[in-house]
Subunit: 113 residues, 2 copies
Amino acid sequence: MSATGQPAQTPEPPYYAVIFTTRRTEGDRGYGAMAEKMVELAARQPGFLGIESVRDPATGLGITVSYWDSEASIARWKANAEHRIAQEAGQKLWYADYVLRVAKVERAYGKPA
Amino acid sequence: MSATGQPAQTPEPPYYAVIFTTRRTEGDRGYGAMAEKMVELAARQPGFLGIESVRDPATGLGITVSYWDSEASIARWKANAEHRIAQEAGQKLWYADYVLRVAKVERAYGKPA
């Protein structure tokens, strides 16, 4: 559930991944606080399974992958009122560029013990 | 095709994503050179569509997403001889933990112009 330092612990596939690849504009402009808030808010949504988020401070490129039980849960999260405000600020202020991909995770494995 | 600073330019879905989330061990141990080599090698494989790779130096968490035209291309890349050597070193030396997920990208959109 946390977005800090660990691969997300997700159930057996199938489930969905939202791969959000972004390039930040210069300066914070309120981004850091909102990003943290959105992770907390996402984690409280129905169907949320986990999130992984990494940004390279050197290049400004970031990848956030959130995991969901269904397309319906992803659609609900996209329509969330607070999230919509963040999406708009993302377009206008925070992201020089982004690509969002919705994918169905078909198989997964971890490091052998 | 590059893994530096830009979202990958991929064709219209459907296509496949390999989401490789890793936590590095301490120290380089040859990782940097091999990681760079593997990106170059992956980019020359049949069916390769693009790659995005980010690591946060502060937490050691990294996410690399490579994009492929089919499951068959992913299987071939997994079986590549040089890549297998890297996979083994990954397990033994470089990664404290990892999760690899194979997902079918069903839809995608970028930042509106």
